[in-house]
Symmetry: C2
């Protein structure tokens, strides 16, 4: 299975906040028109980011701002906020291996730490990238296009 598009949408949201935050109020409708998904999808993701302590959302008047410098928000932070799986486990282990079978009885113990190492490798690479990296890239593309 794939990691949900909520993840790339969330990064897109941050990039818009930084790029347009000085000139526009960042509402869910504003974001929806850049990302081209339904505003309610945006609001739900904003809600997850807010609950994770990454952003502040103004009710009533509207508008969204980041609560940390963008170079201190990593891809991993965003991933945890919007795509957390049951128990945080990347792999779905088959539930009931037969305890009366020598393999069934021990397969879990053998696999668990290996699967965890694989998950860690992915998460550690996610920690290498911050929102600031993306924003800088996008700014560079915009400058080069002129």
């Amino acid at each position: 299975m794939q990691i949900s598009s909520r993840f790339t949408i969330a990064i897109h949201i941050f990039a818009c906040m930084e790029t347009f935050g000085k000139d526009y109020k960042i509402t869910s409708d504003f974001l929806a028109s850049s990302i081209q998904v339904n505003p309610v999808i945006i609001r739900n993701i904003l809600s997850q980011l807010r609950k994770a302590g990454l952003i502040k959302v103004a009710r009533g008047t509207g508008g969204t701002t980041a609560l940390r410098p963008l170079d201190q928000i990593t891809f991993y932070d965003v991933y945890l906020a919007v795509d957390l799986l049951e128990g945080g486990e990347l792999f779905h282990f088959h539930e009931n291996p037969n305890p009366d079978c020598p393999v069934g009885k021990n397969i879990h113990a053998s696999l668990d730490d290996k699967l965890m190492q694989i998950q860690r490798a992915m998460e550690n690479q996610m920690k290498q990238y911050s929102i600031a990296d993306v924003v800088n890239d996008v700014k560079q593309y915009i400058v080069n296009a002129k």
Copy 2:
């Protein structure tokens, strides 16, 4: 989302083949009783492993054998065989960012290689483990239990 249990089931299958292959014929019913899932699930996974060139399945008479030494079958090989996602991409990118928005126009170019690096980190770690590692672990557990 999680990586499907087909992956851990497939590894369990290999472990059973190696552990019991000399004493038993490895049929889908035999595997199903160790793994405790429906035999059809097993047969479908065996079919995927067969199409990936990892095993041979005897029709009619029944029975399954690996086509390579188990230290030359990595977790990554198994993952590719049973859990290949559309285009092989771990991340689902939102489809239609607005090309008239400077961010929407460039977000893909900025993210693509970063997402690929994250996926590579996971895949490379998968390549560090082979079926033989699991089989050795299980054998060790069995010896220690005596």
